[in-house]
Each structure stands twice: as structure tokens, then as C-alpha cells.
């Protein structure tokens, strides 16, 4: 495990959630999945949101990733409220400023590793030469330079998650949100993935928010938030940023 390698350059809040509340309707019942949750991710943070299944952590991640809207409360990105933004503007924010890593990797099966990584750059209309260069760099960063042409079904679970991490990083987003990134991996591979994320935070100051129910992830966190029954019930800061 890498110790003491968090990003020590802290910036302004990137992502904030203010009194986030989310209701779901199950049949005739209205279920409160999140209850007035306040959350802030500062640039350079490595935050883990920990909690059991059904605690509301994925709901929180969906709201922070701007792929779902809160029933009440507000999500702010770079200090700007997002509640009144139209769908197209939210898509643009996700495309350009947010990187996402999913529990089940969610790679496009008909594309190679390099093409999966390239996909977000196609959405941002990045010129071809620059796309190729950035894909090459980021695949090298996650240790998959030699497997760029392989399709997802020709890669192991850990390799697929590395491709997913590369895809999340390739647009140089302001923040990367990871939903249970180790849940579908064996413990050794999970460790490798967490060390990769931690390294990217330490070396490149990429801001991470990882939601997980896996206790093995917690040691990698700079800050741990515990969520239960839709509420943040605890916060622990495990590593202090080094002075500039």
C-alpha cells in the first residue's frame, strides 16, 4: 500500500452537495434514499464514501455525477448550481469535467481498449492527433500500453477496470467518481486498482470520490465519510496534505 502520497495541493471545492434529499417511489411507498446530505469534494481530495448496501451511497454518487437530480437540495459544480441546468448542459459537464468509473466496468464491448478510452474525446470533438496521443499516454499511465488493441472480452477484470479508469481520466476531468470500483475484482486486483487511483491522486492531484462497501478500500482514503440510512453519520480524515 502506498502511504503518504496524497495530493498536497488543495484547491477550491469542485463538487458540493447541499442538503441533498432523494425519494424513490416503490409501488405505493415513498422511500427516502438520501436525507439532507451535505458533501464537499475539494480539488485534490481522495474521499471514500463507505456504507452498507442500501445506505444511499450509489444514490449520492448519481446525484454528484449529475446523472440524476435530487428531490430536494442542490449540487454545485465549481461553485455553480446545477439544478436549473438543462439536460444538454449537464451532459456537457459530465463529458468535460467528470470522470466515471463503474462497478461493472461498463466498457463498450465492440470497441478495443484504446477505442473505449478514446470515446469521451470523440464526444468533446478533440482533434484526432491529440486524441491518439492522450489515449496512448493514459493507457501507459494505467499500465495497459501493450493491450490497447484488445477488446474488453480479451482482458481480465482488473485490466478492464484499468481501461475504465483510463477512460475516466482521458478528458483530464476536474473530478473522478468511482462506484464500487473493486466490487467485481478479486482482492489482489482490487488492491492494484486502489493503488492506481491513489497514485494518480498523489502524482497528478486527480480528485477522487470513491463509494464502496468494501472495508479494504478505506485504508487508501484521505477522508472517509460513512453513510447509513441515507445520512452521513461519520467523517474521518486519515491523511493530512503535505504543506506546499
Amino acid at each position: 500500500m502506498r502511504q503518504g502520497s496524497f495530493c498536497y495541493v488543495k484547491g477550491a471545492p469542485v463538487l458540493e452537495g447541499r442538503a441533498l434529499t432523494k425519494f424513490y417511489t416503490l409501488g405505493k411507498e415513498r422511500v427516502r434514499a438520501l436525507d439532507r446530505v451535505d458533501f464537499t469534494a475539494v480539488q485534490g481530495d481522495f474521499t471514500v464514501v463507505n456504507g452498507p448496501s442500501g445506505s444511499g451511497k450509489s444514490t449520492l454518487l448519481n446525484l454528484l455525477a449529475l446523472i440524476d437530480r435530487p428531490s430536494e437540495g442542490e449540487v454545485l459544480f465549481d461553485g455553480q448550481p446545477t439544478g436549473s441546468l438543462p439536460e444538454r448542459a449537464l451532459a456537457a459537464l459530465r463529458r468535460e469535467k467528470i470522470g466515471l468509473v463503474f462497478q461493472t466496468f461498463n466498457l463498450i464491448p465492440v470497441l478495443s481498449a484504446a477505442e473505449n478510452v478514446e470515446y469521451p474525446l470523440l464526444l468533446t470533438r478533440t482533434p484526432r492527433a491529440e486524441r491518439r496521443e492522450r489515449v496512448r499516454e493514459v493507457l501507459a499511465e494505467v499500465g495497459l500500453a501493450d493491450l490497447a488493441r484488445r477488446r474488453p472480452d480479451e482482458l481480465s477484470g482488473g485490466q478492464r477496470q484499468r481501461v475504465a479508469v483510463a477512460r475516466a481520466l482521458v478528458t483530464q476531468p476536474r473530478i473522478v467518481l468511482a462506484d464500487e470500483p473493486t466490487a467485481n475484482l478479486d482482492s489482489a486486483t482490487g488492491t492494484q486498482i486502489m493503488e492506481l487511483l491513489r497514485g494518480l491522486n498523489g502524482e497528478h492531484c486527480v480528485t477522487f470520490v470513491v463509494v464502496t462497501h468494501d472495508p479494504a478500500v478505506i485504508p487508501y482514503a484521505e477522508r472517509v465519510l460513512t453513510i447509513r440510512d441515507g445520512r452521513i453519520v461519520g467523517e474521518e480524515r486519515r491523511g493530512e496534505p503535505r504543506p506546499a
Binding site: I67, R95, V110, L123
Partner: protein, 402 residues
């Protein structure tokens, strides 16, 4: 996006092949049927022009069947004037004049009402001599000679060298009868024409009706496609010259052609609609299933920042690729089938005709282009609804889909 859409077709090859196969089958069948219709239409066009020439110029009352007496006749002075005006038009190969009359044809103890068409023999424009299958055609200098149709000859037992009488009313209203020698038997595509029409020299028709006039000037053009533009131009020339005559094109002159052509259009329209509907609904089902299976993937690409309209375009592009693939294969299969038909030459007798023709398929750009375009469009359109549905699902729900 286009590349991704194409690759998506490789996910489930069996399903893609099934969809493309249905599109190809529809396209190939449409192509063959359209080609057959076009070949049949061309044959009928050819025989219609063979019967009427490209254009006819006559009194509108005659052309509309409203003529009373012989006021419609064109006297020699006006005939020359008309022919000079017509020959000045581009694409005119030549002109000739005709005089038709209704008469009673009598041979031995049998009679038949016929329409005798008086033509200028060997006029180089339209003299019907090329239709003669027995005996000879009309020659310059012939007066009391007649060509009878094959069907009429069979019914009356006529042979070249036989004599018959033709009775008609002169322009002055008197009965006139004159003997004629059967010099030739002609065939025609229509049994009705073979039975009810005979050809006589123009001089004979004029003699029988006791007139020096004609009832129409027939115009032959260098190509069929020029017909309608030439008709407009000649019509304008006639009006400018103060001639109260009208120009009619071959298709207007032949109600049979118009009816058959309309029937062909209806037949092909129905076929195209049937193929369109079949392809549309089958491919709709297949694409709906295919897109449903990828709900989570839609959630993923939406989460990565793909807009709804981009997802929509991606899925419609998939339908378009499928249409291009199926349509392409369909065109190749249709061309193969058509060449096979054309090579084998299956005999077929069109309704109302007396002679079998080789069943053939005309391969024109339209024959190939229309089925292909319909196949591609129907396939692309069938992707629209499932593509729209794919864009409506919420990203969070789509990501949770199994």
C-alpha cells in the same frame, strides 16, 4: 459514431444476418417485379407508338370522339402547312397523313364492321408494313389493296390474293362500295386491333369517302422521351399559325396503355408498400430487442456525456447500416435473379395480346434505385422508434438495468 453503429451490428451476427436477409429479400423481390413491370411497360409503349406514332395532329372534336359529319377533315392546303410547321421542330423524323373510316367489310356471305385506316404506303414514318407476317405490305401505287389482321383473317378465312368489298358513306352522305384485294396479313400485339382494324392506301380511303382531305397528321420523333416537349412546342406553333388543330401524344391516344400503365403503377405501389411495411415491422421488432438488451450501455454512454440526440443518431445509424447492408445484398441478388430470368427467357403472354413474349426484367437505374432506397429508408425508419425509446430512459435507471 458511424463506425460504432456499424460495429454494433457485429454483436449478434445471427440477428443481424436475419434482419439483413429480410431487407435483402424484400429489396430483391421488389427489384425483379419492378424490372418486369418496366419491361412490360416498355413493350406496350413500343407497340402503342407502333400503332399511333409519337404524336397525332387533328381536329380536337375528332380526337375527343365528338365529331359530327366530316368537318374535322384537314384539306390539302392546311395539311402542307401543318407538315411544314412540324418538320421545323427538333427531333422530328418525319410526318405522314392518315384518313380513317368506319365501314362494312364483306367477304363471301360474311360481313364485319371495321375501322379502315388509310395510310401512305412506304412513307418511312408509319405505314404498318413491318407488321405483315404473310403476303406483302402496301406499296406506292396500290389503290384497291388491304392489309387485314391475323385474327380477322382467321375468322373470315382470308388469305393474300382474296377479294372483299368495303362499304362506307362518302363525305356527301352517299353509300360507296369498292373491291379490295387482300395483299397481306398483319400481326399486332392486341387481338382487338387484329380483329377490328384494316389498313388501306390513303388514296383508296380518299376515293371511298370522295374527299381529298385527311383526318390527321402523324409525327414520328427520333426518341420516345422527346414526345411531350415536342407536343408542347408543336402545339404552340399551330396556335401561332392560327390552325384550330390539337396535338395528342401516343399515351393520351391509347386508353389501353393509360389503363395498363396505371395498373402497373398500382401493382408496384402496392408491392413497395407491402415490402416497406414487412421490412419496417420485422426490423422494428429485431432492433427493439437489440436496443433493449443494451439499456445499461445506453446508460453508460449517457453518463459519459453522450447527449440524447447523439444516442438517437447512433441507433438510427445502426438501422441505416443494416438497410445499406441488406439493400446492397438485395440489389445483388435481384440483379442475379433478373439476369437469370433474362437468360432463360420464360415465355409469357400478356393479357389482351396475341403473341407470347420472353419474360424479361429491365435493369434501369430506377429499377435498381427505387427498391434499394425503399429498403434503406424503411430499415432506417424502423430504428427511429426504438432509438427514441432508448433516449427517453433515465441514465440512473439505465445504469441499473441488468
Amino acid at each position: 459514431m458511424a463506425s460504432l453503429a456499424l460495429r454494433n451490428l457485429s454483436r449478434n451476427r445471427r440477428r443481424t444476418l436475419l434482419s439483413a436477409g429480410i431487407v435483402a429479400l424484400g429489396c430483391a423481390l421488389s427489384l425483379v417485379v419492378l424490372g418486369f413491370v418496366e419491361r412490360s411497360r416498355a413493350l406496350i409503349q413500343e407497340s402503342t407508338v407502333q400503332q399511333f406514332g409519337n404524336l397525332q395532329i387533328a381536329d380536337p372534336n375528332l380526337l375527343d370522339g365528338r365529331a359530327e359529319g366530316f368537318a374535322y377533315l384537314i384539306d390539302p392546303v392546311r395539311r402542307v402547312q401543318v407538315e411544314e410547321l412540324v418538320r421545323a421542330e427538333r427531333g422530328v423524323v418525319g410526318t405522314t397523313a392518315q384518313l380513317s373510316l368506319s365501314g362494312l367489310l364483306a367477304v363471301r356471305r360474311t360481313t364485319a364492321v371495321v375501322r379502315a385506316v388509310g395510310v401512305v404506303p412506304e412513307n418511312g414514318v408509319l405505314d404498318y408494313n413491318d407488321l405483315v407476317v404473310e403476303g406483302r405490305g402496301l406499296r406506292p401505287g396500290d389503290v384497291g389493296a388491304v392489309l387485314v389482321g391475323r385474327t380477322l383473317a382467321e375468322e373470315l378465312g382470308l388469305r393474300p390474293g382474296d377479294f372483299l368489298n368495303l362499304t362506307a358513306t362518302t363525305v356527301a352522305g352517299a353509300f360507296n362500295v369498292s373491291p379490295l384485294e387482300v395483299v397481306g396479313i398483319f400481326r399486332f400485339s392486341s387481338a382487338e386491333v387484329e380483329r377490328a382494324q384494316v389498313f388501306v392506301p390513303l388514296a383508296f380511303a380518299q376515293l371511298l369517302l370522295a374527299t381529298d382531305g385527311v383526318d390527321r397528321v402523324v409525327v414520328r420523333l427520333d426518341r420516345l422521351g422527346r414526345t411531350w416537349a415536342a407536343a408542347r412546342a408543336i402545339g404552340a406553333r399551330l396556335r401561332a399559325a392560327g390552325l384550330a388543330l390539337e396535338v395528342r401524344t401516343w399515351d393520351v391516344l391509347s386508353p389501353f396503355y393509360r389503363g395498363l400503365s396505371a395498373f402497373f403503377d398500382l401493382l408496384f405501389g402496392f408491392l413497395v408498400a407491402a415490402v416497406f411495411v414487412l421490412v419496417f415491422f420485422v426490423v422494428l421488432q429485431i432492433l427493439t430487442l437489440s436496443f433493449l438488451e443494451r439499456t445499461r450501455e445506453v446508460g453508460t454512454i449517457r453518463a459519459l456525456g453522450t447527449r440524447r440526440d447523439e444516442v438517437f443518431r447512433l441507433f438510427v445509424a445502426e438501422g441505416l447500416w443494416l438497410g445499406l447492408l441488406g439493400g446492397g445484398v438485395g440489389v445483388l441478388a435481384g440483379l442475379g435473379l433478373s439476369l437469370l430470368f433474362n437468360g432463360v427467357g420464360i415465355p409469357w403472354q400478356p393479357p389482351g395480346t396475341v403473341e407470347a413474349v420472353a419474360l424479361g426484367v429491365d435493369l434501369t437505374p430506377a429499377v435498381v434505385g427505387i427498391p434499394w432506397t425503399v429498403s434503406v429508408l424503411s430499415t432506417a425508419l424502423s430504428a427511429v422508434l426504438p432509438a427514441y425509446q432508448a433516449t427517453r430512459v433515465s441514465v440512473a435507471d439505465a445504469l441499473r438495468a441488468v
